[in-house]
Amino acid sequence: MNDSLKHLPQVGDVIAEREKVEAGFRDLHPPLTQRQAIIESQRCLYCHDAPCIEACPSDIDIPRFIREISEDNINGAAQTILEENILGGSCARVCPTEILCEQHCVRNHHAECQPVLIGRLQRYAIDHMHFAQHPFVRSADSGRHVAVVGAGPAGLSCAHRLATHGHRVTLYEARHKPGGLNEYGIARYKLVDDYAQKEIDFLLAIGGIEIRYGQRLGDNLDLDTLERHHDAVFLGLGLGDNRRLGLDDENAPGVATPGLLPATDYIRELRQSDDLLQLPLARRCVVIGAGNTAVDMAVQMARLGAEAVTLVYRRGVEAMAATAHEQEIARANGVRILTWARPEQVLLDHTGRLAGMRFERTELRDGNLAGTGETFEIGADAVFSAIGQCFDDHSLAEAGELARELGRIRVDGHFRTTRQGVYAGGDCIAPGEDLTVQAVQHGKLAAEAIHQDLMAQQEVA
């Protein structure tokens, strides 16, 4: 990334007050105090067959853990959460609860219009748990060894559940830290204080899980070898590639247009940065896209000190993938949301650096998106594309017999791929919805399927 933005000033060159910048990257939603948690927990109606549970992709018994908080049984509440979702702490922070559990809270009804703050209560329980002994135990060693590829939420969840069943797990991770999107892809103010790593330390305390870093499928790792050395393989690969704008002068592989890059690259750098003031600052910044990543990018650049941040989307706000809550955060941070326009051409200055972008106005014509022919230009120091990520086929180029669906890996109802003994879950499979909590659920259920299948094999043998 640095190559692409190294011509830009650093944040510290423009903004003198370190404190001001750092303040913008502290907890977006400060944790509940004990008093707030108790009051909020009292609002839960302890519904029967609660709609919030149905809306939670990871099946957490929400009324139960909230009642446990209200009775000051914090460890009980934490265990209720963790036994369904071992990454319940980060999910509490990054889940779009406004479209999941909290949207389905019965206290949303018109007389009240204010759901129980389930996400923040979940965080309270996990933040305040204190176990004298690790709450999960490993079954006796099964003698089986499973490979889990990708130490993101899906892979970590799968590894943990496999470990509880007594299987040995080796996690193969391409990067140098575990966590996946929690470590590299979430807006900095949503997961602060190295929380992703602390949570993983807790998860790994179950034992029986080894992580090997710098192991990238398709480069120094291949499926055949993994299958030979393990009793089963779980693929939690995530989405390794970014969709391209499809414009002239857009970065071809190996050719960078200074000032034009995927938002995920910048966010990764921002998350890993020890010194925010050394980050490149795009004083005039354009973000193309309409999802939560686009909003994360726009808001973070605004908080770093950008003067003008514009988010451009080819359709109307009602079609934006970013939740209403996220859009509100964007507006509150001064991000201008410009709809019904699509990128037409990258504008370069005489040195070949990005100087802005030309957009064409769009409209719906017979239900289809069409350009109106009218164009306008926005001057920018950098343009970040956040129009979605996609599965990086390179990683499985050699694994021909692994069927795909909608550009991702096809699995059955038990997360089995078309290749015997190979399972997959998280964003890399076809029904993936790009939600951390769903990846955790996939990993958990895939682990159960792997366990069942391994036990069945044992019986046959």
Partner: protein
């Protein structure tokens, strides 16, 4: 500076057992009425009367440190309150002087003096003239204090013995011209025995309830009940909102007891709102006393008590409290006189229902399986009453978090009124 408002066409002033008061709200004998400073603040706030904290013989009582504890709701709302405080711990002379001064300064307010002395006539004969000399409007006999004093043969030790109630009451009527209100303890099996005894002794009125024997909670780390004195605890007197239902029943029991007919009742027990007060009055009270609510919120609550009660009375066409007193007594009866043919059935207003399922699981697990859980096509749920199975128990309505969503609808059965005495299913009908 507030704008002048229209005067409500209602008169809250009362005359209770010969005692006049500008409104029916009195502070009960308790810490808030222990000395002139508090009582004058109460009068300034608008209280119609006070019952001065119980006087006894010198030397004054001595109190322990740590005196109150509470039964909390999950949100630290105080459901019930408990105290182990004794009667006044100030010299008799000091109290009498202050009572006299306060009465002179606030002549329009009711000032009643609570008394507790040993159960011998001489003690009562000695103290009564001194109280009368202060100009106080009446006396209240503390025959109910459940902690500390009974161990010395006073308080509830007297109030639990109808013969002693009658005796002490008669002494007071003999040796004083002041109206005598007998305060009753709820820590007995039948409150009517106490009120009948008071009436026989010549009491001008009864007031009830005094506090209920209680332990509010236990410190599970130290294994000591609360309130904690050092490393110990003792049972105390329970009051506050949680005792209201107990008090209402006891007031009603006396109000509908022919043997206590005509005996004025001052209602006490968990009154925190004008509705609570109106309920006591409806069940027979001619005045009410408040303590815990004032201790939790301060004296200014009397403004809302008066205003709420007055507006409600206007809305119902009542001009004075006496119009309300006892209105609900005739509708309170023994179980056997209830209509066996009455049938009510729950109805769920689907527009208001928030689909929490609380009514369903309550009925399904613990009652009559009279609520069906249906899934709509759009995935939302719908709860409906199975009318044929509903016995009209009210549980669903009680557990519903949305007030007004579940209503109990009386059914027209076409059957006449039939009491249990008339019911052919009553095996003892012939005897009745």
């Amino acid at each position: 500076m507030k704008a002048p408002t229209r005067q409500l066409d209602v008169d809250l002033a009362i005359e209770f057992a010969g005692i006049r008061s500008p409104n029916p709200f009195w502070l009960a004998s308790a810490p808030p009425t222990d000395k002139a400073y508090n009582v004058e603040r109460a009068f300034a706030a608008g209280w119609g009367g006070v019952v001065w904290k119980t006087l006894g013989e010198d030397p004054p009582a001595v109190n322990v440190s740590s005196r109150y504890s509470a039964h909390f709701g999950h949100n630290r709302d105080v459901l019930g309150f408990n105290n182990i405080e004794l009667i006044t711990d100030r010299p008799l002379e000091t109290n009498l002087r202050e009572i006299s001064e306060v009465k002179q300064r606030w002549p329009d307010r009711a000032l009643i003096v609570s008394l507790m002395v040993p159960c011998v006539e001489e003690s009562w004969r000695a103290i009564l003239p001194r109280v009368e000399a202060t100009g106080a409007d009446g006396i209240e006999l503390n025959l109910g204090c459940p902690h500390g004093m009974p161990e010395r043969g006073m308080g509830a030790a007297v109030g639990q013995n109808p013969d002693l109630i009658e005796q002490v009451t008669r002494w007071c009527k003999t040796h004083s011209r002041l109206p005598v209100i007998v305060k009753l303890t709820p820590n007995i099996t039948d409150i009517r025995a106490a009120s009948r005894a008071a009436k026989l002794g010549g009491a001008d009125a009864v007031s009830l309830i005094n506090t209920v024997n209680s332990i509010t909670s236990v410190d599970l780390d130290r294994m000591i009940a609360r309130p904690i004195v050092g490393h110990q605890s003792t049972h105390g007197g329970y009051c506050g909102a949680a005792v209201k239902p107990i008090a209402l029943n006891m007031v009603a029991e006396i109000a509908r007891d022919p043997q206590s007919a005509g005996l004025p009742i001052c209602g006490i027990g968990g009154i925190s709102s004008w509705q609570d007060a109106a309920e006591f009055v409806a069940l027979g009270a001619g005045a009410v006393q408040v303590c815990t609510a004032a201790m939790l919120h301060g004296f200014r609550i009397v403004e809302e008590l008066q205003d709420g009660l007055a507006r409600w009375m206007v809305s119902k066409g009542y001009r004075r409290l006496a119009d309300v007193t006892g209105r609900a007594v005739d509708n309170t009866t023994d179980w056997k006189h209830l209509d066996m043919n009455f049938q009510t059935i729950a109805h769920i207003d689907q527009q208001q229902c928030i689909q929490c399922g609380r009514c369903y699981i309550a009925c399904e697990d613990t009652s009559h399986q009279s609520i069906a859980k249906l899934a709509e096509e759009d995935g939302t749920r719908r709860y409906e009453i199975i009318e044929a199975a509903c016995v009209g128990c009210n549980l669903c309505q009680i557990t519903c978090p949305v007030e007004g969503c579940i209503s109990m609808v009386p059914q027209s059965t076409g059957k006449p009124f039939m009491s249990w005495d008339e019911d052919p299913r009553n095996p003892f009908r012939e005897l009745a």
